[in-house]
């Protein structure tokens, strides 16, 4: 944990690049070991970690709250889906760019009225936005495919990659892993850009506004503009995450973006650790493997997964974890390491003082 922090916290861009690259390569290596099912879950986790990172930037750095990031995610997702259906053959990098830009534009549209608000009013406004997205997608059938959604198959595993696999189910294994690797690489790029933002004058401007908006204005910060930039960046990351999310699933439909998704995103962000790169990674990991763990838990305890209790198990567990995190690890799982070190240090200090006397 410490070495990771020390690399990423450097101010030089090359050092950040090295840190992000190291984690990305490590994760790519892990995808070679994991079974295909776990690879698919990891791909979903990588996509969600991009969205969490964008939310983490908004909440942790600029001090604003948003319950609308699932909406921004849906915008990026539908932009990707509609583009893929009509122009499936364009390079993927263009699709990602498009989803990011359209996500950013939707963020701008929401930000202009939102930056006048704060606290619960801002939460309400953004919640209204994410609540509106699904019905729009359901009813605007000619473009969005309505309830059934859109299907596309843009991700084709290249031949050289297929060649790496042999034996039974070679194609399935290769496809699952190619999807995961692609999602991890896109996430790596996104994390690199966010690491840059964290350590730039833009990142500092966000923290100034968060800590003391009066003093921030006095040192030359345009408050509405800075808050708008925070929203637009957050929405751009959500758009990109949404794009990856639907590309790996090869389908986009309204049920993927329920109102509760925004709450889940916030929960994952808090569990991982607000405002840090590693927190978003941890949030993504929890997302990737929680469904699996919970179904294991259900079968272990003999709870019927379709019963009222079993179906809501994720909400129950996330809720309890959230409360525990708030109480005992306010900086999330990413902050636990630092907290433990601090605890050990202070215990040692107390011990040395009491033995010295």
């Amino acid at each position: 944990m410490k070495w990771f922090r020390s690399i990423v916290a450097q101010e030089r861009t090359t050092a950040r690049l090295t840190g992000v690259l190291a984690v990305t390569i490590l994760t790519l290596a892990i995808t070679f070991v994991l079974p295909p099912v776990a690879d698919s879950q990891l791909a979903g986790g990588a996509a969600i970690s991009i969205v969490i990172l964008g939310l983490s930037w908004l909440v942790g750095w600029s001090g604003q709250i948003s319950l609308g990031n699932s909406g921004f995610m849906a915008v990026g997702a539908y932009a990707t889906g509609i583009w893929a259906v009509h122009h499936g053959s364009t390079p993927l990098i263009f699709t990602f760019f498009l989803a990011t830009v359209i996500g950013a534009i939707s963020g701008l549209i929401i930000a202009i009225p939102s930056t006048r608000l704060s606290g619960p009013y801002l939460a309400g406004m953004t919640l209204a936005f994410s609540a509106a997205i699904s019905p729009i997608a359901q009813n605007y059938t000619s473009v969005t495919g309505g309830e059934g959604g859109l299907f596309f198959n843009t991700l084709t595993t290249p031949h050289w990659f297929l060649g790496l696999f042999s034996g039974q189910n070679a194609t399935i294994n290769a496809n699952a892993q190619w999807t995961a690797d692609l999602a991890v690489v896109v996430a790596g790029v996104a994390f690199f850009f966010m690491a840059n933002l964290f350590h730039s004058h833009t990142g500092r401007a966000m923290r100034l506004v968060r800590d003391n908006d009066v003093a921030a204005e006095l040192v030359g910060i345009n408050l509405p503009r800075t808050r708008t930039v925070a929203f637009v960046v957050s929405a751009a990351f959500a758009g990109l995450g949404g794009s990856v999310y639907v590309l790996i699933n090869a389908t986009v439909n309204p049920s993927a973006f329920p109102l509760t998704l925004s709450i889940t995103l916030l929960t994952l962000m808090v569990l991982g650790g607000i405002g840090t790169l590693s927190g978003a990674v941890i949030g993504g990991i929890i997302y990737a493997f929680s469904t699996n763990l919970i179904s294991h838990l259900n079968s272990l305890t003999g709870i019927n997964p379709t019963s009222n209790l079993g179906a809501n198990m994720q909400g129950i567990i996330f809720g309890v974890l959230l409360i525990l995190t708030m109480l005992f690890a306010p900086h999330g799982i990413a902050g636990l390491g630092r907290r433990l070190r601090f605890f050990v240090k202070s215990v040692r200090r107390v011990a040395s003082v009491s033995t010295g006397e």
Binding site: L197, S200, R204, L208, E217
Partner: protein
């Protein structure tokens, strides 16, 4: 103003009036601060000193009258533009950024001068890194100048009050201001710290104008070139400290001497 020398004032208030509902906070207030001049703004509590500050730095809109910055070549600036134009202000009660180190707090003072775009941040261009390094050196130099360099990595809540006041001044100086506005810089400081602060302000005067709100008369009197005395939102006297201290109206209104 006819017959005055041609030197342009750093800041100039003309007939500024501010009303809060029925309360007349400022009543046709006019005064100016000349380049390289130290001006003290004094008056009893509720006289309108802080409101005058707020009008100058754009926090409060004047109901009538004008604020001009002739020497800076700018007028009608918003608060966030002032920093780049050369006006810096400290806040009553310090107003540091709570979750940032002392060094970062001081670096933040030059935020209005960054002049770099979003792309530079996003891609992490090397020029941005060099700029940050330079900013850090500048901030360190300011801390050394004020003798508080050893607190650079401390967080604001962990340092003594006197030090945090100096940090807020260091932050204001990072904007390389032409006009430095200090809101009660002496409150809560001990004798030594007052002495140091006075020496600092005299030093600063060589490169900028200073406008300060202060209650501590022993501190203000030997320091300033001119005093502006406010009472109930009106300027009741303007002049050199020696003349002000014998002005009967001022004595009655402010210095607590019975007639």
């Amino acid at each position: 103003m006819s017959g005055e020398p041609i030197v342009e004032a750093t800041v100039e208030l003309e007939d500024v009036t501010v009303r809060f509902g029925g309360l007349l906070a400022l009543d046709e207030v006019s005064f100016d601060v000349q380049p390289m001049e130290i001006v003290g703004l004094i008056g009893p509590n509720g006289a309108g000193k802080t409101t005058a500050f707020n009008v100058i730095c754009g926090f409060q809109k004047a109901d009538s009258g004008t604020v001009r910055f002739p020497a800076l070549g700018h007028n009608a600036l918003t608060t966030s533009q002032l920093c780049a134009a050369g006006v810096a202000r400290t806040l009553q009660g310090v107003g540091l950024f709570t979750n940032m180190s002392v060094l970062e707090n001081v670096m933040a003072g030059a935020q209005g001068h960054v002049g770099r775009g979003f792309a530079s941040s996003l891609f992490g261009f090397p020029a941005g890194f060099r700029h940050e390094l330079k900013l850090r050196d500048d901030a360190m130099a300011q801390l050394e100048r004020l003798g508080i360099a050893k607190f650079a990595s401390a967080l604001p809540y962990s340092i003594p009050y006197g030090i945090s006041k100096k940090v807020s001044i260091a932050r204001a100086l990072m904007g390389r201001p032409s006009l430095l506005m200090l809101d009660e810089p002496a409150s809560g400081l001990d004798e030594n710290e007052l002495q140091e602060l006075a020496e600092l302000i005299v030093q600063l005067r060589e490169s900028m104008s200073v406008l300060l709100v202060e209650h501590n008369m022993d501190f203000v009197m030997p320091l300033v070139h001119r005093l502006v005395v406010l009472n109930f939102g009106k300027v009741i006297a303007t002049g050199a400290p020696a003349t002000i201290s014998t002005d009967p109206e001022v004595l009655a209104a402010y210095l607590g001497v019975d007639s």
